[in-house]
């Protein structure tokens, strides 16, 4: 009996345990089922939401790939420049001028730089305009155009580069701001400074290749009632030819001499063999476009003018806004004259030549050499 009761108890226990287990499992199953249903509904609704979001995104993407894409995107310009203080100043001027209204990316070029990265960037980002500084900037972009001959090119502006006007024909769709301060700008400043020494007749020497440059300078100088006399020398002028030209210039009795920024006429050899020995015999002020040429050790120039690099950048910025107004089309590629200049003077040499000047105007000069 006891065994029966124990067995029954065991059976009851087992049944009870089984029942609990089954009940528990059923409960879990029901919970899981409910969870599944809930998730299913949620996922379905989420799926509908995702579908809707994808559709909207697609539509926006489609709209933004239409030709009017740039209405929604900010205009972008690229500068290619060597790594030096003066070019950095130009970039700063550009950036200041653009003031965030046009985005600017500034890239350094030169020896050791990987042009492929620059080329890929240009291809990918398609800037609205490109600013090229120095021969390195120009040559880098020239290489890009040669490697991508079939493409349309954005307008480019060559700046802070000697003989920039001669580089315009090398590049497609390019323009320039000249780096040489026009003679008339320098001479008006010199004239203002002189005491009892009118600047009415100015002499210069130019190589045959630069005849047009001389004629342009002469035209502008005449506006300020300055007679501009030029002596032409061969393109491969020797020191002998240059000495002869300087002697002729001395006979012309000019009020000042303006030396053109022609690297071929300002080689070390020509400076030491022709310019310095001959200019020692001239008593007029000598105007140059490179500031080192007025250093006392060189005995060449007395008064130097060169573009203000920061303001040159501002001028580039103005040009970029003009291009933007014209839908990035270059109307004409005639080179522009630089507007803002810096000036330096060697008063030690002016004093030695007996040239009197307005002392009160010395505070307008970036550098004054006194010995």
């Amino acid at each position: 009996m006891a065994k029966a009761i124990a067995a029954k108890h065991m059976d009851d226990t087992i049944s009870s345990q089984t029942y609990s287990l089954v009940t528990g499992l059923t409960l879990v199953r029901k919970l899981l089922s409910a969870l599944y249903l809930t998730l299913n509904v949620t996922l379905q609704r989420f799926s509908h939401f995702c579908h809707a979001l994808l559709t909207i995104t697609f539509l926006i993407g489609a709209l933004t790939t239409l030709p009017t894409k740039k209405v929604f995107a900010q205009d972008l310009v690229l500068t290619l420049r060597p790594d030096s203080a003066q070019f950095h100043q130009v970039s700063q001027g550009i950036e200041e001028s653009l003031a965030g209204d046009i985005e600017m990316v500034d890239m350094v070029v030169g020896p050791g730089k990987d042009n492929r990265l620059i080329f890929d960037w240009i291809t990918l980002n398609r800037p609205n305009a490109i600013i090229l500084m120095d021969n390195y900037g120009v040559n880098t972009y020239l290489a890009y155009q040669r490697q991508h001959p079939a493409r349309r090119y954005p307008p480019s502006i060559i700046v802070s580069t000697l003989a920039a006007d001669r580089m315009i024909p090398l590049l497609a769709n390019s323009s320039a701001i000249l780096y040489e301060v026009p003679a008339v700008t320098s001479l008006v400043g010199l004239r203002k400074m002189m005491v009892n020494r009118p600047i009415q007749k100015v002499g210069t020497i130019y190589r045959s290749d630069f005849k047009q440059t001389f004629l342009t300078q002469r035209k502008f100088a005449s506006l300020e009632q300055i007679e501009f006399l030029g002596i032409e020398v061969p393109n491969d002028a020797s020191s002998r030819a240059l000495k002869k030209a300087l002697k002729a210039l001395k006979k012309s009795e000019t009020d000042a001499i303006w030396i053109m920024n022609d690297p071929a006429l300002l080689t070390k050899s020509l400076i030491t063999r022709a310019w310095i020995p001959q200019l020692k015999k001239h008593k007029q002020p000598v105007v140059v476009g490179i500031k080192t040429l007025i250093n006392s050790q060189l005995a060449l120039g007395d008064y130097a003018t060169y573009p203000d690099h920061y303001e040159l950048g501002i001028q580039v910025g103005d040009k970029l806004f003009d291009l933007q107004d014209n839908r990035w089309q270059l109307e004409n590629n005639a080179p522009l004259q630089p507007i803002s200049i810096s000036k330096e003077v060697n008063i030690w040499r002016l004093n030695r030549k007996g040239i009197r000047f307005q002392q009160s105007l010395l505070n307008e000069f970036e550098r004054i050499i006194t010995e």
Binding site: V184, N363, E366
Partner: protein, 240 residues
């Protein structure tokens, strides 16, 4: 000297140290000229030792600095002063022989048209308000579709006309005189109805009487020693 005596001396000096600090005024100067910034700063600092001078060469630097700094006093062009907030004009910079009109349109090649006929013209000005504000101002007061070229120094105005970068310049009296003295090209002039003073010096509305006194003292020194011609191309500062 022992510590007690040193302390007594220090305490005795304190009122005077406080007094000296109270009269030192911060003066910002922005007056576009061909003169180098350092020359103006050094010259006026020597003339006015009671004032801390900061000179700005460019409009952009001037207006950017004013966003975060509040000088006690400002000396600037009449046009720039009009655009300052919270400053009261105390002195006006004048020419001894003032003309009837303070501003002019000028050109070397053609007679400037009437103010109403400046549509689509290229106008050169000295940058006094910054690029954006200057554009807004001149488009409002001259014509809405002018193309504006702004330069930092008066000497940069002549090349704008010589190289045909602009059709006309808009200049004040002192700059017009400068152009006539510097260039041999004949200037054709038409006056503009903008009654703006050539120069204004003023103090912040919260400035104490000590600050006002310091500024007045400085301007009187400039008047007495003819610094105004050198630094501002003006003849004198007169009290308003």
């Amino acid at each position: 000297m022992n510590g007690r005596n040193a302390l007594i001396i220090l305490l005795a000096c304190l009122p005077f140290i406080g007094a000296a600090q109270a009269t030192a005024a911060d003066l910002f100067i922005f007056f576009p000229k061909d003169t180098q910034k350092e020359a103006v700063q050094n010259g006026i600092s020597r003339a006015c030792p009671q004032v801390r001078i900061t000179v700005f060469e460019r409009a952009s630097n001037f207006w950017r600095t004013l966003k975060t700094a509040t000088p006690d006093a400002v000396l600037t062009t009449g046009l720039a002063f009009q655009h300052l907030k919270n400053y009261t004009a105390n002195h006006e910079g004048i020419l001894k022989k003032p003309t009837k009109h303070s501003h002019h349109l000028v050109s070397f090649t053609q007679m400037p048209p009437a103010q109403q006929s400046l549509n689509a013209k290229r106008i050169g000005v000295i940058n006094e308000l910054g690029r954006k504000s200057g554009k807004q101002y001149y488009k409002k007061h001259l014509a809405s579709d002018i193309k504006l070229k702004q330069v930092s120094k008066p000497r940069d105005l002549i090349p704008l006309l010589t190289f045909n970068t602009v059709d006309f310049l808009m200049v004040d009296d002192r700059t017009r005189l400068y152009l006539e003295l510097t260039s041999k090209q004949k200037l054709k002039t038409r006056h503009i109805d903008l009654n703006i003073p050539l120069g204004i010096a003023g103090v912040h509305k919260t400035a104490s009487t000590d600050i006002q006194r310091a500024l007045s003292g400085c301007l009187e020194t400039l008047n007495a020693h003819s610094y105004n011609r050198t630094y501002f191309s003006l003849d004198t500062w007169q009290r308003l």
